[in-house]
Symmetry: C2
Subunit: 470 residues, 2 copies
């Protein structure tokens, strides 16, 4: 028998009113009912004495679950390390960590990192996964062992996952537009060809919709124009079309990618992706830091999602992408914590807006409700979970509760008036530390700031990082 | 009899080794002793069974107290409000809040905000105070009533304060370089002339060193070149010289200040301040966002401190100042939370570095220990507390303890080796929520995340903001 649960939220932001079709927005005294992993009824304005017995009260502000649309779980081991003065120097350090991972150590690290995400209100993660093979580039006896353990890690941390299984074939552009062969740590990433990648994907095992488990769907990724020759991209897109599955790609994170792409192919990375048929509404471009105005128009016309990772883009000295222009051009927006120098989606949302202010010298690019929409429905949609990220009947039963009585959020006024809008205060000053309760797919994952499945998340992080770094 | 206290820190960062003269840095098992408000002995490497009875164990990482070098306490009421698309539109909303404050409501708000700071690890605040008079610009019966209540608010919240009592005379530049008269909310700010400002300062009551109370020193501020005609600045500097007291001034926060200053005086704001004798090692310039290379050299040569407020400079769309260049030119650096859109000095330090990365496209401008030095000794020095901000004998007995076992800081490796430096992790991912214990001037202020003097800080914030915004 499917479990029926009820919550009574003091104040809830129901979502942006996108797929649910209603007005969304803030509502008081909301009775939320779920059967199994989906909401069945959402009713605002129910007094406390009018709720059924056994209903759980959620004090403070309750939000839909947050989606972390771009993750490289193992980068968490690099948090706080100096790692050089350029992106490319940092990448060498990152490769060193990548070369150390075993299936066991990677499972432990990923489970801890996904648990850290859950504590921060994340109910679904998009794992951009390219660490497929052993240190010599040889497939494990199950060639999808690494991907499967990420799926297990997410399950064991209580979050849904889209495994964005990544096609990674080349070390970069060689003169004349040919592909540089992989070497060193990169050998672990490579499948040799997109056809081999697709064969491995076929072995993974998922249904016609790409679902690999109730909490996991399979998606595709093209690492970047650096790593996948244009002629190989069609195979990835064919797999995506066959499964209605999302495709993600890094795009123009650093100027060097642009200049090398221009030299190799005579076009921008966005033009190359477009020419290879990669753009479209099922496609998400990660970073898009250094895209030109014509690129912006191209991405907008394709209705491709742009996934911003503001903390990582600052950490790696990428720069600030034209996210306001991209949104205005028609791109849906999502957010990711990417390299996990910090895992805090509220800080990501804050700095999406603040980064735009720094470069434009104007305030107010994204309304707080827009930023929250990017973190919830926007992120879920681009990960292939269109029925998640709002508190409406039929949606995945994800709830994230932040009390409004922390020092950071105090002063938020739940009633329209002279005071500050709760969502405004949340994006101005909220942090992962403000997340008190998390329900994902109808199940309690975090209660009173404590993860219910991973006993001691900081210990799990420290131990798993120590096991990797030695 | 003066109280003697002892703590035993599992791991401590003793400071940058500046005024204390030793090497500073990280140390294990540090026995710290204080008599009254000052440290008397600091000894590393003392085993737990070797400490005197009654010694308190501090688990995790213990830091010197943080200084918040630039605060406008009442701006906290604006957190999360939209307030327009430009700095100047935001200023109108800020003036509206300023016009609503009474001595009673301001005391309550300031006490709550300083308590929020204490919870974030702040042991000393620099309050840039210009709300001197009643709504019509008439002095209160005690013309220093508003300043005194800020001093009381800091005492009652357990933090030291430098009241940077601000000279504010003009609404801006008028054609021909004359001063626009104050009007509206600004009437509360004005003393009419620097001589009247100095008379009011004389009435405040402080000793020859500017100490107004054991926890409070008086300092001076020149609001900006917009608000104080150059001919009036000498009087403020004379007061500062007579008391050896710090002088702070806003500098080039917005391009419009620069262009108007150039039109009025034929020079940059830094040139105007220099010409009026304002620059020097006791002077701090706040923001310095839009300073030219010659300005940078000028400020560096003067050894003036630059006080960065990265969160506010982002919130108000000011831009990113050349803080790396300023530090290289010789400016000490401090940090402030200014408009308090968020009160989190660790996030300020993180974004001081990340802002430089975004504009320079390079990583590694400030080492984590430098950033921590800005937050501790750097901030205290520019507020006129040179004997604070390090854990050394003779310094103010301030201790801030952050456990390293939060999800954010987990993975920090206290021992030199392959792992991440604790300070590196702290500036990468630490937040105000990580602060567990705070000792200021030898007294416990925060214990286990709970403020010991202000019973319920979030309630105090919400009630005092509600009283102001009505």
């Amino acid at each position: 028998m499917t479990a029926v649960r009820r919550w009574h939220a003091e104040l809830a932001w129901l979502g942006g009113g996108g797929f649910g079709g209603d007005a969304g927005g803030l509502a008081h005294d909301v009775l939320v009912e779920a059967s199994g992993e989906r909401f069945t009824a959402v009713t605002a304005g129910i007094a406390a004495d009018g709720v059924p017995p056994g209903t759980e009260r959620l004090s403070g502000l309750t939000l839909p679950g947050l989606a972390n649309a771009h993750s490289h779980a193992f980068h968490r081991a690099l948090r706080g390390q100096a790692a050089g003065s350029t992106f490319w120097a940092w990448r060498e350090r990152m490769y060193d960590v990548a070369s150390r991972l075993t299936p066991d150590s990677y499972y432990a690290l990923a489970r801890a990192v996904y648990a850290e995400m859950a504590l921060a209100g994340v109910t679904c993660v998009g794992e951009f996964h390219y660490l497929h093979h052993d240190g010599g580039g040889r497939p494990y006896s199950d060639p999808n062992e690494m991907g499967r353990l990420l799926v297990s890690a997410a399950r064991d941390a209580g979050v849904r996952i889209t495994l964005l299984d990544t096609c990674y074939l080349a070390a970069g552009f060689a003169p004349g537009g040919s592909a540089l062969p992989l070497s060193g740590a990169q050998l672990r990433f490579g499948d040799g060809s997109a056809a081999s990648w697709a064969s491995r994907m076929a072995e993974f095992g998922c249904d016609a919709l790409g679902m690999a488990a109730p909490h996991a769907r399979l998606g595709a990724a093209i690492h970047s124009v650096r790593a996948v020759p244009p002629g190989q991209m069609g195979e990835v897109m064919a797999w995506s079309r066959a499964h209605g599955a999302p495709v993600h790609a890094h795009l123009s994170e650093q100027p060097r990618e642009n200049s090398e792409c221009q030299a190799a192919f005579g076009g921008t990375p966005a033009e190359v992706l477009d020419g290879a048929g990669v753009l479209g509404p099922r496609t998400s471009l990660v970073h898009a830091t250094h895209v030109s105005p014509p690129d912006v128009a191209r991405l907008g016309a394709a209705q491709s999602t742009v996934c911003a990772c503001p903390l990582t883009e600052a950490d790696l000295a990428d720069g600030v992408g034209p996210f306001g222009d991209l949104a205005a051009a028609g791109c849906p927006v999502a957010l990711g914590s990417d390299g996990h120098s910090v895992v805090d989606l509220l800080e990501e949302a804050r700095w999406l807006e603040l980064g735009q202010r720094l470069v434009s010298r104007r305030r107010g690019h994204f309304a707080p409700s827009s930023l929250m929409g990017f973190l919830t429905a926007g992120g879920h949609a681009c990960l292939g979970w269109p029925e998640a990220g709002e508190i409406v009947p039929g949606a995945y039963a994800d709830l994230v509760t932040v009390p409004l009585d922390s020092p950071r959020l105090a002063g938020a006024d739940p009633d329209p008036g002279a005071g500050a809008d709760p969502l405004g205060v949340l994006v101005a000053a909220g942090t992962a530390a403000d997340v008190r309760h998390v329900v994902a797919s109808g199940a309690d994952v975090v209660r009173d700031g404590r993860h219910l499945l991973v006993d001691d998340v900081p210990h799990a992080l420290a131990a798993s990082i120590d096991a990797v770094l030695g």
